[in-house]
Assembly symmetry: C2
Homo-oligomer: 307 residues x 2
């Protein structure tokens, strides 16, 4: 039996900058995966189907319809087709509210999962709700906070299988802008430069005086000029101040609550380290694993509807 | 008598992005001015003289040497020639520590004013020290705070004609990055969009909870999506949150102290408005005027040395 015959469905994690697709079997196991940089931000409405086909065509066959379960910015207003938000409090994955994308190729059936919105304070997510659903599929009784670090880090309060509230910090995007496009680029080093002591000192400074962020950034550059700091020190200070400022702003989500961090590298690892430094033991889980678990749950609901 | 004969010296305000030159008479009055985008950041070390000559050549004559008094990033390590920092506490303008730039054209004598540094917390300035000196030339007994809003806003404590301490906030640069390069660019409007009530509400939010900045930015985008906010509201909120976060971080510089803001438009005007909203009446002065007053004081010291 060829691999193709085992491919029961396709999982698609389709964000602003990237498209990742996975050929999946009936039991939710990955048979193959591919990716491209054809994220939502790069595509006009009528280019999504072609961007998907460029990756998945070897997984299709003439004699059957392949379900594609997709999450992320592909369902935004400027995406393939808008999948309107579900308003919290609600379960993370609204499989009953999936939207079917218009396709020309009859071998495809593309279902897009809606994101979540919150009225007050105003907030939105697209893609992370599927990761939350994937995590809860394996730990349905979880009560506490899920933290999803990234370009726009989400802090999510969960109870009884529902998202109660959430809040977004633009920490990843701001670190990226500050270290690549601001005056700090002259001293912020590059990926891999690291100094644990500088990171922790910066965390402590921000937690001790959470309102001081705007006064604490330029001093990274000034100190590099005056004290010839190593790039690793400057970079760890910048990340420590930003993660520290985020933790100060999100204290209500982590103080005295069980915390699970979705993401084991980069900002995910920094967040786990920072929480540990503050005496909070969090558990870290792999992002791809929970994304696929969430899309698998959606696939099973979709299959159930078909029967 | 032609204008040229009245030109006694040239004032040069030479920052990272721009070069502004002024033909000055012996009494410190402006006879002509020109500008280019040949800032320090665009020039190699051996290109500074040519960039200056391109603007000032009509003001030169064969039979005399023209003094050029320059301040700003032109004196940085990566500038024309390094003018080492003076360490605070000290007078703002170290006219006795000006550095002569190397020139090929014998009609030019270019003197560069040093910037200021502070050891703890680490901080530096180049250019603003000359504005401070210019302000103090007209108000020598001033005791209080000078605020110089800009890409990197400086808050400066002054007493007995000396700079006692200062602190930099990257407010201007961060507003620029967030409104042009982050996800907020989709809703942050453009120059001129304004809503006073949104600005003030955002200020109040930040002052009431100074540590919340990283949680308060993405909600500008989310609210625009969910509530179809006008661009003027989103933009005023962004500026209000950033200026509010800056004022929270710089409270020790403005609470209960006389404040003079150097800058009457853009971020300068927003800062005056914000201070007034917090019950602090500041006085605003024109940036060019104090820059030229500071360079004029340097010119007079230079002339004194010549005699």
């Amino acid at each position: 039996m060829s691999q193709d015959e085992n491919i029961a469905w396709i999982a698609a994690d389709w964000g602003t900058s990237n498209l990742r697709v996975y050929a999946m079997d009936e039991a939710g196991q990955v048979l193959a995966d591919k990716r491209s940089t054809k994220g939502m931000g790069t595509l006009a409405r009528d280019e999504f189907e072609q961007a998907l086909l460029e990756l998945v065509w070897p997984w299709l066959s003439q004699d059957r319809v392949m379900p594609v379960m997709a999450c992320g910015m592909v369902g935004a207003r400027q995406g393939w087709i808008e999948a309107p938000y579900s308003a919290v409090p609600c379960p993370p994955s609204s499989v009953d509210r999936m939207i079917r994308a218009p396709v020309r190729d009859s071998r495809l059936e593309v279902m897009i999962l809606p994101g979540l919105s919150q009225a007050d304070p105003p907030d939105v997510m697209r893609g992370e709700e599927t990761q939350i659903a994937g995590y809860l599929a394996g730990d349905p009784g979880f009560e506490g906070t899920l933290c999803l670090p990234g370009t726009h880090t989400k802090w999510v309060g969960v109870r009884d299988g529902r998202v109660e509230r959430f809040r977004t910090a633009m920490t990843g995007e701001m670190i990226d802008l500050l270290s690549n496009r601001s005056v700090l680029r002259h001293s912020a080093g590059t990926f891999g430069d690291w100094d644990d002591a500088a990171f922790r000192a910066a965390l402590d400074e921000m937690l001790a005086d959470p309102g001081s962020l705007l006064a604490q950034l330029f001093s990274i550059r000034a100190s590099a000029l005056l004290n010839s700091d190593r790039a690793a020190v400057s970079r760890s200070r910048l990340i420590g101040r930003m993660v520290g400022a985020e933790l100060a702003a999100m204290r209500a989500f982590w103080q005295g609550l069980p915390v699970v961090v979705i993401g084991t590298v980069g900002l995910g690892a920094f967040t786990v380290d920072a929480l540990r430094h503050l005496g909070v033991e969090s558990r870290a889980v792999d992002t791809v694993q929970v994304t696929l678990a969430g899309l698998f749950a959606a696939y099973r609901a979709y299959q159930g509807d078909k029967r």
